[in-house]
């Protein structure tokens, strides 16, 4: 791994979506991502976890400018890419989607799906070169040349996800956003795909933003993990630090809620069961957004938003009561 070169960085990223209000002509906004800042070093994997609707997928997509950010800045390799033409950057930044059943065009052969990116970026001089490249990509993800002429419906979920990965790799990217790439797969297949992501990273020096709701998998694959709640980053730390020494009450309850596949550990775990549901992002609670479900919440939490501070080197958290949680 190269020494701490920031490959991707976002500063105070905001992504608001307009929604219809309850009254006629009333406009409201969903603050899907609200003031999120982080960076990813070259060659590392940053995991992003959180419950559905917390904005982790939106963060990933806004980062690639698949959505235009409402505010904030995105840097790639030190250059501000918030308002530039993205075409040259699409060769460096790619995405693998969650649902391999929905993200592949059913009317294109696998060869054409993978080849489309090669065509767009003019990466092959002639048909033969294009074909060789497609076969090379397919073998990279554990498929073979005869698969190139088949259609997506002929593949199993795990194989389709491999096609999705081959498509992302077609342009030789440096950075890939993996948006829940394994949650639609069977348990026995998940490990295969996770291992493949690791192998590819090692071979091609890739940098990942790995988005998932399964903390066990995220911890396995990531160097650092960020935890999101209602559009905000609440804690960010090295993956071991985060799983064993988390300081934010939300992270703690999230970790304690994960069922461990070990009966004895499971019986010994003291669950911090959170009351209630995640509030609506249209009308989030004032101050700290977690306060409605937080066991430590008091008036201070309702009045002001907690600051994003460094608890220990490289370990960030946003909470008013960090001393009490300890």
């Amino acid at each position: 791994m190269m020494e701490n070169e920031k490959l991707v960085e976002v500063q105070h990223l905001q992504q608001y979506f307009p929604v219809a209000g309850s009254k006629l002509f009333e406009k409201k906004v969903v603050k899907a991502v609200d003031d999120v800042s982080f960076f990813i070093n070259r060659g590392e994997t940053l995991g992003l976890v959180g419950e559905s609707g917390c904005g982790k997928t939106t963060t990933g997509r806004t980062l690639l400018r698949l959505y235009e950010p409402t505010a904030g800045k995105i840097f790639y390799s030190g250059k501000d890419i918030t308002h530039v033409n993205m075409l040259p950057y699409r060769r460096k930044m790619q995405i693998v989607f969650q649902d391999p059943y929905a993200s592949l065009d059913p009317r294109m052969t696998v060869g054409d799906i993978v080849g489309e990116a090669i065509d767009i970026h003019h990466l092959a001089k002639n048909a033969q070169e294009r074909r060789d490249r497609i076969i090379e990509l397919l073998s990279l993800v554990g498929l073979n040349s005869e698969h190139a002429n088949r259609y997506p419906h002929e593949f199993s979920g795990g194989q389709r996800q491999r096609v999705g990965i081959a498509r992302a790799l077609a342009v030789n990217p440096e950075f890939i956003v993996c948006d829940e790439p394994i949650s639609a797969l069977d348990v026995s297949i998940q490990a295969q795909v996770v291992n493949m992501f690791e192998d590819l990273q090692e071979r091609m020096g890739l940098t990942y933003l790995f988005i998932a709701h399964n903390l066990s998998v995220v911890k396995h694959i990531s160097n650092r993990i960020g935890v999101m709640y209602l559009g905000k980053l609440v804690e960010l730390a090295d993956s071991y630090e985060l799983t064993f020494h988390s300081v934010h009450p939300y992270t703690r309850s999230l970790i304690s809620a994960i069922p461990i596949a070990d009966p004895e550990v499971n019986r010994a775990t003291h669950r911090i069961v959170l009351e209630g549901d995640v509030p609506s992002p249209v009308n989030p609670p004032s101050g700290c957004r977690f306060r409605t479900r937080c066991p430590y919440a008091d008036e201070c939490c309702a009045q002001s938003e907690p600051e994003w501070k460094e608890v220990s080197p490289g370990h960030f958290a946003a909470c008013h009561h960090l001393d009490r949680v300890k």
């Binding site: 419950e51 199993s156 309850s253 070990d262």
Partner: protein
């Protein structure tokens, strides 16, 4: 499982004319075979499935999609979808012989003695009826209660499953509630007549982890209060580890291993179970270890392999595995598994004894 069945090989089981019901068991499924007769051919969804549940017990059924875990549970309620048909074996529930029951008798039983909650609470509630209507429907159908009494019972059920302001909720429609709330409503409907068995088909798969923890806790709490048995169907080994008394591991329409939870996790006998446990990352691990995946892809149920269905993916596959399915080997009274390796180990043990 009694000792006699142990000696009956899986292959010859179909010829055994009559399975004997063990009255101790609330649920007793013996050698069930179920196929879907699709235009593309016969899909043998269940191929000689045997399992049992005692009263008040929690049985976890784990397996991948298509392994037959839901089909087994649904057939117990007589909910096998067309073109599926039970073509062999016997199913008993609470003294009823399910194979011989008419639809009319089944209807009396469903929702009354046996209930089910589905994976997706968004689609399993009727969007055009209020929560109150849907809970009262079950009560009015199965008990002689008046509308007013049914309403009181509905309110009581909502507070039982931890829903606040039950009076307000009774008048609300499903879309006004969150996913976790809807699943609570589903549980309230399922428990309306205090069934003896609750089938929970992936009850938390569609929910977030923190909500999943709430729902699992609620289910276990209600089990203690009401004393029903639960069949918990899931693919999440973590969920079964924390909730179940016994586990049945299914692969390609067969129960490949079954036993008490601790035995399954600490002394897994079948290669598939071992592979499954090794392939999931452990949150408590301090060092980064590479995952050990199960290679290959799940079985195509239209053309299942002869012999052990797991053989093509098995690390320890032998010649005999490709030819025929092994019978169950009992490791303890309650823990058994079907794998030739176990037969081999037993055979070698016996020879050593002789020597």
């Amino acid at each position: 499982m009694n000792k006699e069945q142990n000696t009956v090989s899986a292959a010859s089981a179909a010829e055994v004319p009559q399975n004997i019901h063990n009255p101790e068991y609330l649920v007793d499924v013996q050698h069930e075979r179920l196929s879907f007769f699709t235009p593309a051919g016969e899909v043998k969804a269940l191929n000689d499935v045997s399992l049992y549940v005692k009263e008040g017990e929690v049985l976890g059924i784990v397996g991948e999609s298509g392994s037959g875990k839901s089909v087994t549970a649904y057939s117990l309620m007589g909910l096998t979808a067309y073109p599926g048909r039970i073509i062999g074996g016997d199913l008993w529930f609470n003294g009823h012989h399910i194979n011989k029951m008419s639809e009319r008798e089944m209807r009396k039983m469903r929702g009354n003695e046996i209930s089910i909650i589905f994976q997706d609470p968004m689609t399993s509630l009727n969007p055009v009826y209020t929560i109150g209507d849907q809970i009262r429907e079950v009560i009015l159908l199965h008990t002689g209660k008046s509308k007013k009494e049914a309403n009181d019972r509905a309110r009581e059920l909502l507070s039982l499953v931890g829903i606040n302001e039950p009076d307000k909720r009774l008048k609300q429609y499903p879309h006004e509630l969150s996913g976790g709330m809807r699943q609570r409503v589903m549980i309230a409907i399922a428990l309306a007549c205090e069934p003896k068995l609750l089938i929970a088909d992936e009850p938390t798969t569609a929910l977030d982890v923190t909500i999943q923890a709430q729902i699992l806790e609620l289910m276990m709490d209600l089990k203690r209060k009401l004393g029903m048995a639960i069949i918990l169907i899931t693919h999440d080994l973590g969920v079964v580890a924390g909730t179940c008394d016994r586990i049945a591991v299914m692969y390609a329409g067969k129960v490949v291993e079954s036993g008490p939870t601790d035995d399954i996790f600490y002394h897994p006998a079948h290669e598939y179970t071992k592979g499954l446990i090794a392939s999931i990352p452990n949150l408590n691990e301090k060092e980064h270890k590479r995952l050990i995946p199960i290679e290959g892809t799940p079985v195509d149920m239209l053309n299942p392999p002869a012999g052990c269905p797991f053989a093509p993916r098995c690390r320890a596959c032998m010649k005999i595995c490709l030819r025929s399915m092994p019978e169950y080997t009992h490791l303890t009274d309650a823990h058994y598994s079907a794998c030739w390796l176990l037969n081999k180990a037993a055979l070698e043990g016996r020879e050593e004894e002789k020597a």
